[in-house]
């Protein structure tokens, strides 16, 4: 009897484990705001699906490397990632097309979010505007070109070319100089000519927030998702509305090829894009909604990239352009800017 009880307990535990494993979905997400995501998305979804969510976090490069390394036997079932990184994975054959008929909220998405990569390789779940945050007591910003002007010399920071904000800044500086965003060679050379006037090239928005709060920098381009870091500061920061408009980007949901867990992945995608979940995520100030039916208070909306007028006005750099040109941009950047 003494040996029988542990044996039964062990069998029961193994059986329970096996049952749980059947309903397990592994997703790969950005590492920020995971506590808020748990509350707004993961926990409610687990209650509905009666399954277990396994969350893998990391930066884009790490997460992409993991998807690529496990292509033969995918560990990640579904991921959220920037549109150009998603396109890069799609071009390597690591993704499968998304059956949009399984997403009940698909028609509620902004048109730009419905098939941003082509061939239904991804679905946009959030937009972000990108503009210039600046000290309104010290300087005025009317144009993206002001970033390289004399007034900001020695007090401005730009995003590094290797980050998401880098190419967007190139696009808007090119636009300010009269370009049509088809060739950034001249813009990178222009930044190189002003390299000594730029305090540093930041990699993370948290790094920029620290620099600006320490008054090392008084103006810099940044994504709207980081605005709350500046808004809560005692220093008078403002969000610029340059005459060239704001840049914008989108993050997308993707499904890894041959993961064998498509049914659960579609369930999560469908839930994540629903008006209910998108509203909750927006109200927690995590991500701006891609679902047009989401209604937010002015107070919440002020912190996000919200509303058809704003989203339709964003200058979005095609993911295919970023993929095709990035290596050349980085080479020129390393030669002329970082030196």
């Amino acid at each position: 009897m003494k040996t029988f009880i542990p044996f039964v307990a062990l069998s029961a535990a193994l059986a329970a484990n096996a049952a749980a494993a059947e309903g397990k979905l592994t997703i790969s997400v950005y590492s920020f705001a995971q506590d808020a995501y748990k509350e707004a998305l993961y926990d409610p979804f687990e209650e509905i699906c009666d399954c277990e969510l396994v969350i893998e976090t990391g930066n884009s490069v790490e997460r992409m490397a993991k998807i690529e390394a496990n292509a033969a036997d995918p560990v990640i079932d579904m991921a959220v990632i920037s549109s150009h990184d998603a396109l890069s994975l799609a071009q390597k054959g690591l993704l499968q097309p998304i059956d949009t008929s399984k997403l009940s909220s698909f028609d509620k998405l902004y048109p730009a979010a419905q098939d941003p990569l082509g061939d239904n390789m991804g679905v946009g779940y959030t937009f972000y505007a990108s503009s210039i945050v600046y000290r309104e007591d010290l300087v005025t910003i009317d144009s993206w070109g002001d970033l390289l002007g004399d007034d900001l010399a020695g007090n401005v920071s730009l995003p590094n070319i290797t980050g998401t904000q880098g190419p967007l800044t190139l696009m808007m500086l090119d636009k300010a100089a009269g370009g049509d965003a088809s060739d950034f060679t001249g813009t990178i050379s222009d930044i190189g000519a002003h390299a000594d006037d730029i305090v540093t090239f930041y990699s993370r928005s948290s790094e920029l927030a620290q620099l600006m709060n320490q008054e090392e920098v008084i103006a810099a381009p940044v994504g709207r998702f980081a605005w709350s870091r500046f808004k809560s500061s005692p220093l008078p920061f403002a969000w610029a509305e340059p005459k060239e408009g704001q840049a914008g980007g989108m993050n997308v949901m993707i499904m890894t090829a041959n993961n064998g867990n498509e049914e659960l992945a579609y369930k999560l995608m469908d839930y994540w894009l629903s008006t209910e979940a998108q509203t909750r995520i927006a109200e927690a100030l995590i991500d701006s909604p891609a679902n047009m039916d989401v209604t937010l208070s002015d107070e919440i909306a002020e912190n996000l990239t919200y509303g058809a007028d704003l989203i339709n006005s964003l200058n979005i750099l095609p993911p295919s352009t970023i993929i095709a040109e990035r290596d050349a941009w980085v080479d020129q950047w390393n030669t002329e800017v970082i030196r």
Partner: protein, 274 residues
């Protein structure tokens, strides 16, 4: 303790095995990437490609320059400090030695962030410079080579002082007075008496400081940022931004070679006959 050398060897086996499995094998696998071509065969193309890029050459030379500079300046300051410490009475010596060691117990992250407060535009140094009228506007220190140099020097100077204090404690007490009585000036005392008797400490301290400066990541990352790239910050970029493990392995190999070379060179200098 043991009758012969081989008797004690089995006791070292667990530590050797552990080091072999969790350090040497992974490092070997990682570094082997730097000697492989696309087909998996032996190739030095990774090194050719690395040094073909002007940015990489600049970063390599900057890392070497700062490493040498930090080691040299810490040796000069270290000798002065060590000479002063060994001249103190035993009780005071212990207290001062404790103060030298204290920074080593504080995280490099905290120590480096302190420099942001000190060297920033609204930091103490700029307050003094502007207050004294030496400059109308605050001077840019952060994100310059100067900031990285200061940060690295502060980080590794204690290692040099500790090494030199240990070496100087073994110098006979009468050696310096004897040299002085025989007519040597202070420069001669240093170069003909103190330096030869403490060269082992200088080799140990120099190696620790140089290799530390070469491989420190936090300080160059925070005080230099992307404008003052060093080999270690470039390595991080290659892995975490570019996913370029070949270049990262090449950089790791270069850092290892630089560290061993510095040690061999210093030993050579120390053992060279006058």
């Amino acid at each position: 303790m043991f009758l012969n050398r081989t008797e004690g060897l089995p006791l070292a086996l667990p530590a050797a095995l552990f080091t072999f499995l969790v350090f040497l094998v992974p490092v070997g696998i990682l570094l082997s990437v730097a000697f492989q071509n696309v087909g998996g065969g032996f190739s030095l193309q990774g090194y050719v490609d690395f040094f073909a890029q002007p940015l990489n050459r600049t970063v390599f030379l900057r890392t070497l320059k700062l490493g040498v500079l930090v080691a040299a300046v810490s040796a000069v300051i270290g000798y002065a400090a060590a000479f002063c410490i060994v001249s103190l009475p035993a009780t005071s010596r212990g207290r001062v030695f404790g103060l030298i060691v204290l920074p080593l117990m504080i995280s490099p992250v905290a120590r480096t962030y302190a420099w942001i407060v000190i060297l920033g535009r609204s930091g103490i140094v700029n307050d003094v410079i502007v207050g004294l009228g030496l400059s109308r506007l605050p001077i840019r220190f952060l994100f310059t080579e100067t900031a990285v140099f200061i940060g690295l020097l502060q980080l590794f100077l204690p290692l040099m002082i500790i090494s030199l204090v240990s070496a100087m404690e073994n110098v006979p007490k009468d050696a310096v007075p004897a040299a002085r009585v025989l007519g040597a000036n202070w420069m001669q005392v240093f170069f003909r008496v103190i330096l030869p008797l403490t060269k082992e400490g200088l080799v140990v301290g120099g190696t620790l400081v140089f290799t530390g400066a070469l491989t420190a990541y936090i300080t160059p990352a925070i005080l230099g940022g992307s404008k003052v790239l060093m080999l270690e910050t470039l390595l991080y970029q290659k892995v975490n931004v570019s996913n370029d493990f070949v270049s990262a392995s090449v950089i790791a190999m270069i850092l290892i070679v630089m560290s061993f070379s510095a040690n061999l060179l210093l030993k050579r200098i120390a053992t060279a006959k006058r």
